[in-house]
Every structure is written in C-alpha cells, then in structure tokens.
C-alpha cells in the first residue's frame, strides 16, 4: 500500500471536494481518497502495482485543479 499526498491550489467551493473525490476513487487501484478542503490537499492510498502517483496527479489536473506538489511515501 502506497500513500500519496497532493497539494493543490486553494480550493474554494465545497463542491470541488466531491468532484475530486468521485474522480480519484473511480481510478483502478485506488483504495481510499481524502480531500481536505481547508488545507487544499488530497490524500490517496493506492496499490502501486496497479497505478502510480503520476497517473492520479494527472487525473486531478484534468479536472481543472493544478497540483502544486506531491509527496509519496
């Protein structure tokens, strides 16, 4: 199980949370997603044999939320 944390540009609408949540949790290999609205972070747990952090980052970007930095552990 790999954990990744993405820092996004400031999230402003609570609706963004459900958008990111739905999109990322629909990816294959993603176990859990937590979107922190107030700190503008996305915490993801995933199976690194099925998906990598870069792919998750791209999904978030495609939704229209620029990723400022990411941390994988």
């Amino acid at each position: 199980m790999t954990k990744a944390e993405f820092r996004l540009e400031t999230l402003t609408c609570p609706a963004c949370v459900s958008k990111i949540d739905t999109a990322v949790s629909n990816l294959e290999g993603v176990q859990s997603v937590k979107v922190l609205f107030n700190s503008s972070k996305v915490k993801v747990e995933f199976d690194n044999t099925k998906i990598d952090a870069e792919k998750i980052e791209n999904t978030i970007k495609k939704l229209g939320y620029p990723v400022l930095s990411s941390k994988v552990s």
Partner: protein
C-alpha cells in the same frame, strides 16, 4: 486547453469586466449596436470558464452552482438581455475571485503554522558539521543548534544549554530554558544558546507534524449543521432547476425563471458554517489549543460543568518549598545548603523539592557521608562535622530530640495551610523547618473565574490526595464540590453522576489515571506538553502548553465560534428569503440578484474572519 482556461481564469474575469465597462460606456454615447456586441463578447468571455466548470462537474454527475449560473446566462442571451448576462457572468467570476482571496485569510492561521516547518538541519557526520535537508535527518543523528536556528526534528539534548521559543508547539512565546536531558521539538526556535541533541522522532512522527495533521483533520470534521447543509445542497441545486422550470411553465416568463435560478444559489448558506469553524480552529491552534473539529467545537460550547483533577492540573504537580524557618542561631540559606546536600542521597519527592530550592537560590552543595535512609520517617547524614537528621515528627521523636513550643506552633500552622513539614535537626537540636507544598498554578484562579463568567455553572475537583489539602485548595479557588481520596474508577463515577444530573461535562486531567474519566466526559481536555501520543489522540481538546488559561480560552472561543456560525446561517437564510420575495414582487432582477448573492457570500466570510484575531481575556 482546459488547463489553460483554468490557469488564466483571472484573465477571463478581467476581460469580461473590461468589456462590460466599455460596453456600458458606449451605450451612454448611444451606440446601441456596439454596446450589444461588446456585452455579448463579455458574456461569452466570462461564460467560458463557468461553463467549463459546470461541464466538468456534470460529467461526474455533480450539479454545481456553475450549472445554475450558466443556464441563467444562456437564458438571458436567448431573450436578448445582453446587459444582464454580462453582469451576471462578471459578478460571478469576480465574486469567486474575492472569495478565494478572503477564504485564504480565514485559513491563514494554519498556513502560518506550516510556514514554521523547518527546512534544513545541521548534523554532525564523521565529526564534521554538515547542513542537510530536514528529510535526510535519520534517527540517532547528532543535530547541532545555534542561536537563531530552527529545531529540525524531536530529540533529547546531549550537551549544551539554550533558551528556546516553543510558540510553534505550545503557543507560548516566552522562551523556555532547556539543558541536557530535556526534549526539544521540531518547529521551535533557538532564542540563544548552543545545543547538540540526538534525533529521536523524525518526519511525520514529530510533535509538530502531528499537530499540523490534527489541525488539518479537525478543520475537515464537520458540525452536524454542516453535514445537514452538505446533504441539503446536493438535492437543493437540482431542485432549484426543476423549480425554475415550473416557474416558467406557470408564468411563461423566462426572465422571472432565470432570475429565480440565480438568486436561489446556495452560496452563503453552504460556506457560512465551515468558514467560522475553520477560523475558530485556526485561532485555537495559534494559541496552543487543538480543538478536534466542528463537532467538538459544538459540544464544548454547550459545556456547563467542569471537572478538574487536582495534582498536575490545578496544581503544578511537583512539590516546592514554600517557606523555610530557621531556629537555634541557624541562617536560612546555610541550613538549606546543608539539608539539600543531605537530600542528594534520597530520591523522595520532598527531598527533591529541597534540592531544587537550593539550586534555585544558587547554593552550592557539599559532599556528605554515612547517609542512611530511614523508611517512613526521613534520612540521617553526616555533613562536614555535623550530624544531620531530616524528616517527619516521628524521626525527631525516635531520636529523643525535644521540639520547642514555638517550633511546634509554627509547624502546626504550616500544616494547616496545606504544607507538608520536614523537620531538620543538627547535632541533636532542632535547627529548622521546611514547609513544602504542591503549589496552585498561577493562572488557575483567573482561568476558573473566566469559565464561570462565561457559563460554567459547576466546578468540581477530584483527587486521590487527602481531603484536608484538597479542601484547602478548593476554598482558595472557589470550587463548588470536592471529592478526595478517590481511585481512578471513583473519578469516572463522579463524572458519570454529573452527566446523569443533566450537566454537559468537561474533564481536565494529566496523568494516565485520569484517562478513563477524560474518556467518560462529554469533552476531554488533555495536557499535551509531556507530548504523550495517548493524551493527544484520546482527548477532544489538547492544551499544548499545559496552561489553564488555554482551557478557558478554548471554552470561550468555542462559544464565539458557534455564535459566529449561527449569525452566518441566519444571515444567509434571511438573504435567500428576501431575494426570493424580491424576485416574486418584481423588485430584484438578474444582475442585482447576482450582486446581492455574491455580496452575502463575502459578508459571511468577513464575519468569520473576525474570529482569527479573537481574544478571550
């Protein structure tokens, strides 16, 4: 393309604003054609980023506010109301921009905290000091700290002495003196001094990283009102679309139905409660009080009975010499020096108090010999050419030394004041008394008064200590009820009893023996200075500097936060209601409706921002 639009949203906002302005200006000169062209261009420029967001959300089957707005803009264009469509598009984008800016401010406390995170560390590797990024520090590394440097990781001091500003962890900005054996915490700042310490907790395990995580999670945890509003919003938006269609079917008036769409946007209602909460939790974190989320905030504001453990919570938890009386020609400091030297052979906490007092007064200790510990009474020691006895009455009696009347009287008085008295006899004669007391924390009285002023109806003290000392402290602090000589399970019983009587109970304690009663209370306060993970994880509110003034601040802050949240919610509901009335009576139009809507959102954010600088005293 999508990324480009999102990145340059501000440019779209500005262009649509400028186009709208020029459009109006040319309208003033009677150029209706040019005006309409410009306003159409403004509507489209502003509409593109809104439509994009609406579309992206819709693809994930989420009905967003943007969807409502874009339908309204399209509707206005359709009936040829270019003025309205351009103003709506611009105001919506501009409002969102202002909201983002002000929202950042309500979150600023957490950001300020995160900015305190250390970036690099100076460590000794192969005897040489090298500077490395903080991520590369390993457990066991010897870390060097100089005046002005930031502590990179947690660890115990090996050599050196320094004053450290621990505001990042405790909220307390008066520098603390630290030396060999003391813990230093990541994120704190060396005021002056030099230290070498061994790294023991790194990365996400440091106290500082845990605080950040706790605050982050706390800000996400929602109050029950917020949870309700979130659920509500999910059905509200599609419901508004359906309603506006119904309005159209009944009235056959496109104008009215699209105005209805815009004014019914749930903006201030959805954002009002969370911003108050975030600002409140942020204020707490800045003062060294970690309140774990909106639900805790809500419950804390309802507390009306406070239960305190005595030792370590209301008192400092370490006995101190409160007074010394010297007799028979001895002088205070001489006697203290002798007694402290003698007590070095004992590990009794009363003996430690005497040694600490001597150190505080700068008295040097001398070597002693033939020390003997007499269980249950005291010690007997040779210091220089004197024979010294230190202990309770029994020790003095057993050595058949008589206690003069005046000494006896003075001892009785000290004991009545809540002290434990240690007798000192030198060469067979009484030389003095040490009165030792576990002192009340200096902020206890004002903190309890503050609690009472703000709505606590009952203050209770529980202790395992004897009832005479307990009663004395209780009367000094105006505590309503005291229960002494309790076992941990008795404390739980008292908390449960209060709850049964209908009180909402907060419990504050420090040691492991208080953990069950902290868990049993509606709100558990834990002292976090000792940095034990257990207390930080189980309690609802953590006081990072172990200060009772922080406890009263937390309580008053929670009341202010909940009040702020209510103001925002009532205000938002009132605005929606007034707008709907205005639309139905024909007084509010599309553009003015959008303006009022955006202004109300900004007002609730500004209202919440007042909490950031809130002070309880």
């Amino acid at each position: 393309m999508i990324e480009y639009i999102n990145k340059n949203k501000n440019m779209f906002t500005a262009s649509s604003g400028i186009l709208t302005a020029i459009g109006f200006a040319s309208g003033l000169f009677g150029n209706v054609e040019i005006k309409n062209m410009l306003l159409l261009a403004a509507s489209i420029t502003g509409g593109i980023p809104i439509m994009l967001k609406a579309f992206q959300a819709l693809r994930l089957r989420v009905f967003s506010i943007e969807l409502l707005v874009i339908i309204a803009i399209a509707g206005a264009l359709f009936i040829g109301e270019y003025t309205e469509s351009s103003v709506v598009a611009f105001l919506f984008l501009f409002g969102a921009y202002l909201e983002a800016r002000t929202l950042e401010k309500t979150r600023s406390s957490l950001k300020e905290l995160m900015d305190l995170a250390p970036l690099e560390a100076e460590v000794l590797r192969e005897g040489k000091a090298v500077t490395i990024p903080v991520e590369e520090v390993e457990i066991g590394d010897r870390v060097v700290l100089r005046s002005g440097s930031k502590v990179p990781v947690d660890g115990k001091i090996l050599v050196g002495k320094a004053y450290i500003n621990e505001a990042a962890v405790t909220g307390e900005s008066v520098p603390a003196s630290k030396s060999e054996g003391d813990w230093v915490y990541s994120g704190t700042l060396v005021d002056n001094g030099y230290i070498e310490f061994e790294a023991e907790r790194i990365g996400d395990d440091t106290t500082f990283a845990k605080i950040i995580e706790l605050v982050e999670e706390a800000q996400e945890s929602k109050t029950s009102a917020e949870k309700f509003l979130n659920k509500f919003a999910r059905y509200y938006t599609p419901a508004v679309i359906i309603l506006s269609v119904i309005v159209y079917l009944i009235t056959r008036n496109i104008r009215l139905s699209i105005t209805f769409l815009v004014v019914a946007c749930p903006g201030a209602l959805v954002i009002g409660a969370p911003v108050s909460n975030v600002a409140g939790i942020g204020n707490g974190a800045k003062h060294g009080v970690l309140i774990k989320g909106g639900e805790v905030m809500e419950r804390l504001s309802k507390v009306n009975a406070a239960v305190f453990d005595k030792t370590g919570t209301l008192t400092r938890g370490c006995p101190e010499v409160s007074s010394i009386a010297a007799f028979n020609g001895w002088n205070e400091n001489e006697l203290l020096g002798l007694a402290a030297s003698a007590e070095t052979i004992s590990e009794h906490h009363l003996g430690q108090a005497i040694i600490k007092e001597a150190e505080a007064r700068g008295i040097e200790l001398s070597p002693v010999s033939n020390g003997e510990i007499i269980k249950g009474s005291g010690i007997s020691v040779y210091a220089g050419n004197h024979k010294l006895l230190l202990g309770n009455r029994k020790l003095i009696k057993d050595n058949s030394i008589s206690i003069p009347e005046d000494v006896l009287k003075s001892a009785d008085k000290k004991e009545k004041d809540g002290n434990t008295v240690v007798f000192a006899a030198v060469d067979g004669k009484i030389a003095g008394l040490f009165a030792i007391m576990d002192q009340i924390r200096e902020d206890a009285k004002s903190a309890l008064e503050n609690l009472r002023r703000n709505g606590i109806k009952k203050i209770v003290m529980l202790t395992g200590d004897n009832s005479q000392t307990a009663r004395l402290i209780a009367s000094q602090l105006n505590i309503d009820e005291v229960y002494a000589e309790l076992m941990p399970q008795d404390k739980v019983g008292q908390v449960k009893k209060l709850k049964k009587e209908g009180y909402v109970v907060a419990m504050a304690g420090d040691g492991i023996n208080d953990a069950p009663s902290i868990a049993a209370a509606d709100i558990g306060f834990a002292m976090g200075k000792s940095g034990t993970d257990v207390s930080m994880e189980t309690a609802d509110v953590v006081l990072m500097a172990d200060k009772l003034s922080q406890l009263s601040h937390a309580y008053v802050l929670s009341k202010a936060t909940i009040k702020n949240m209510k103001q925002n919610t009532y205000f938002a509901v009132a605005v929606v209601f007034i707008l709907l009335m205005g639309v139905l009576s024909g007084n509010v139009h599309l553009a003015s409706g959008m303006f009022i809507h955006e202004a109300s959102v900004l007002l609730v954010i500004l209202n919440a921002m007042r909490l950031i600088g809130y002070k309880s005293a």
